[in-house]
């Protein structure tokens, strides 16, 4: 039950994109087509879950016992960057089909602040997550990212056919649409 609450909270109430403003770059950058947004969501889910697992262990079993938690930022970004590289190499070897689908999105993920943000949030004192809860939290946030980016890509495909005033075409119109989506998601506040 606890895990379901963590997932619902991460997907709807504190949505990573629309309420916490993490991962805006891929949200605006790769949402022009539904198919690319699905690929990006898959890559994010894969890396976010793995990265949270690894950084959670590093934080609690290396940084905390040695009293060097101020190295969190540096160690986390190195873990995320090398993990992405490793995933890329392994996928290429083990599952060429999956690599074909996710490959081009993987390098983009290093600078996706949603990954670093979630790994930092997962070890916050005020949540007090254990390892399994932390991983569930990461999965929930990845699902939230997938839901919003696919919804947004669907809307943007239609937006291209609309007669938008010239100054508002492109990014401004997309941002206003994101604002309206955020407004819709505010309806989920206080759900859990």
């Amino acid at each position: 039950m606890e895990y379901i609450i963590i997932i619902i909270g991460a997907v709807f109430v504190n949505n990573i994109v629309l309420a916490q403003f993490l991962g805006i770059c891929p949200y605006l950058g790769v949402s022009a087509r539904v198919s690319t947004s699905i690929g990006m969501s898959g890559a994010v889910m894969f890396v976010m879950t793995l990265a949270t697992l690894v950084t959670f262990l590093i934080f609690n079993y290396i940084l905390v016992p040695l009293h060097i938690t101020y190295l969190q930022t540096i160690s986390y970004i190195l873990v995320v960057a090398s993990l992405v590289q490793m995933v890329e190499i392994i996928l290429k070897k083990v599952s060429p089909a999956l690599y074909q689908a996710l490959g081009i999105f993987l390098p983009l993920i290093v600078t996706n602040c949603a990954i670093l943000g979630v790994t930092i949030l997962a070890v916050r004192d005020d949540f007090g997550f254990n390892l399994l809860e932390g991983v569930v939290f990461a999965v929930g946030n990845a699902l939230g990212f997938a839901l919003t980016i696919i919804l947004f890509a669907g809307i943007r495909e239609h937006l291209e056919l609309m007669d938008v005033p010239r100054g508002m075409r492109g990014a401004p119109a997309a941002l206003v649409v994101a604002g309206i989506l955020a407004l819709a998601f505010m309806g989920f506040a206080n759900l859990v």
Binding site: L18, A19, Q20, F21, L22, G23, I24, C25, L28, Y70, L71, Q72, T73, I74, Y76, I77, L78, A81, V110, T111, N112, C113, L116, G117, I120, L121, G167, M168, A171, P172, A173, A174, L175, V176, A178, G179, I180, A182, L183, F185, M186
Partner: protein
Amino acid sequence: MGQLQNFTKGFIRENPVFVLLLGLCPALGVTTSAFNGLGMGLATTFVLVSSNIVVSLIKNLIPTKVRIPSFIVVIASFVTIVSLVMEAYMPALFESLGLFIPLIVVNCLVMGRAEAFASKNNTWSAIVDGLGMGLGFAFALTILGGVREILGAGELFGWSIFAGDGMLVFVLAPGAFIGLGYLVALNNIVKKKLG
């Protein structure tokens, strides 16, 4: 390109937020008030200038293959310095910027300038570029924060502009997206007028 032009390009013509759409996470996340926007902008400017200096100095020492990881370590070190200094001397601002301080590391703007500019130019140009781009970023965040604070709370930098409650939605998440959307459109018009 003259140094003056190198400095001023970040404000309107190549503004990181309004034109290049880089660093949007902090731009949307912390701009609930003009003061927070300015604080975030200046913190990013410091990291940008410092990392530009170091990157332009070590550009000939690091092999091309490992340059991206090396840049990341340089940037992450300066972000750690900023976050420790801010926690010690400006705890209130540190509290309200929260998660977005460590996330300066993955701000595409900082990485982008290191890779696209500092690793190809001399130190002096890199400093000017970092200052111009950083202050352009701070400028954009302060404007967005100011607009949201005026419309949402009727205040600017904590000074009352008009009585009443304002439109709460502009302080909340949707207002950030909608406010930025209209500011990008406005910047497009200004840019066209300037030619």
